[in-house]
Amino acid sequence: MNAPENPWLSYTAVIEEVRSEIESVTTLTLRLQDEGRAAQYRFAPGQFNMLYVPGCGEVAISMSGPVSDDGNRIVHTIRNVGRVTQAISQLGPDDVLGVRGPMGTPWPMEVLEGRDVILVTGGLGMAPLRPVVYELMREPSRFGRRTLLYGARSPDLLLYARELDAWRSSGIEIHLTVDRADPHWHGHVGVVPLLIDRLVDLAPSNTRMFLCGPEIMMHFSAKSALARGMAQEHVWLSMERNMQCAFGMCGHCQWGAHFVCRNGPVLRYDVAEPFLQVRDL
């Protein structure tokens, strides 16, 4: 009998490009070294890879590029915040990483068909939603009104700022907010959920919302959405937990009944809500 492939096995990938985004955040473009594997590789928006630095360890990072990418072009936006991401930040072009993936349950793109779409995000939460933005841009006619509500601590911490004009000109309505403005800032100041409260002409029953950002932001954004008349079943969020195996076996990412790595990271709000209320769960 042939034993199944070991699910812990990483595949080597070369760093093709490193692009500095905002302070301590970079975007890496990787290419799987095995050509056959690279050709087969496909992901869906919201999924993640386990990136491996030999001798240091693995970290779960969402894909932030367009879904048209195969394994010859895997895009990850990474904040240098932990042990492994710090080791990744020291790598450059031609260095090699291990990759396992794609992993996890993606954003349910099919529910957006013909609907008004609101993406709500804060900080680095923009990265896992960027593949969704690219889909919204690719075939605008498939969707109704498309809105992005996006917050950061300060204007210089807005991720992908250079792309925002292109997103706007594709017809996506963008509302930005920051916690602390600078003299050049003309947008909103305040927390992200306020953008939902202020949104004009929100048609609750025809709207589908994706949330991605700090847990507290998602919690209050969902509350704002419900207050605007949206149904729990029309809101999705992406959770962050410690992921090690990324296939629902090691136990680290458990959150209530969910293995966040496998049942998530994207969960429908009504499924997540009972656990969002509980501290330290």
């Binding site: 001798g55 240091c56 042990r83 710090q86 080791a87 020291q90």
Partner: protein, 268 residues
Amino acid sequence: MIKAMSKPKLAVVKFASCDGCQLTLLDAEDELLAIADAVHIAHFAEASSTLEPGPYDVTLVEGSITTQEDLERLLRLRADSRFLVTIGACATAGGVQALRNFADHDEFLKAVYAHPEYIHSLRTSTPISDHVPVDFELRGCPIDKHQLIEVLSSLIAGHRPRTSSECVCQPCKRRGTVCVVVAQGIACLGPVTQAGCGSICPAYDRGCYGCFGPSRQPNAMALSEGILQGASDRQQLANLLSNFNVAAPAFSAESQRLWQLSSRRSSK
């Protein structure tokens, strides 16, 4: 992190201690040549009489601070060190010599020295981290060879080092050792002690005596209340807690509580 382009410069320096932790480096026989190859050993009095001045990329600090002179030497050393690692119970908690923190220092001096007036030591033995920022801490009396190599190789590779935060019980159970508390009624500090030693003692039918110091969130009071029945056991556990890590806050708080309880008992 150090991520040195050339070989990182290593210093091994001691304060009040027995040298046992430094010896762990020399005891790493199989790996010693590789270490010597991967780093430039600039200052290691135990191994070589050539002592190069700083700055150093990595400094391993053994021992506790017990004199004013040592304190001043430590401040200079910190300024000379990019990544400072404390090694062993003396450096991380004050060592067994910190027993004096809980007794009369002058009495000790009189009992030991014929002419205590020549001795200028501090009233307390304190860990390095009480005086200067410490970048990484390796526990143990002595430290564990594998953990030391893990730290050195991480630093050489430019990674932040990491050691397990689990308590002694987990490696103990992984190696198949039967719990000595439950099966034999032996007092054991395993459930409140940081792992790293390989959980050796329980495998030889004796309780853990806590040489790796308190675990991350130790519940020492629950351990003593949960496993002890009589006052004699209280003293036994207080003795265990008053070893190499006597001055580690979680251990000292509980040993003081137990001493008070047992003295109250006996005075009745």
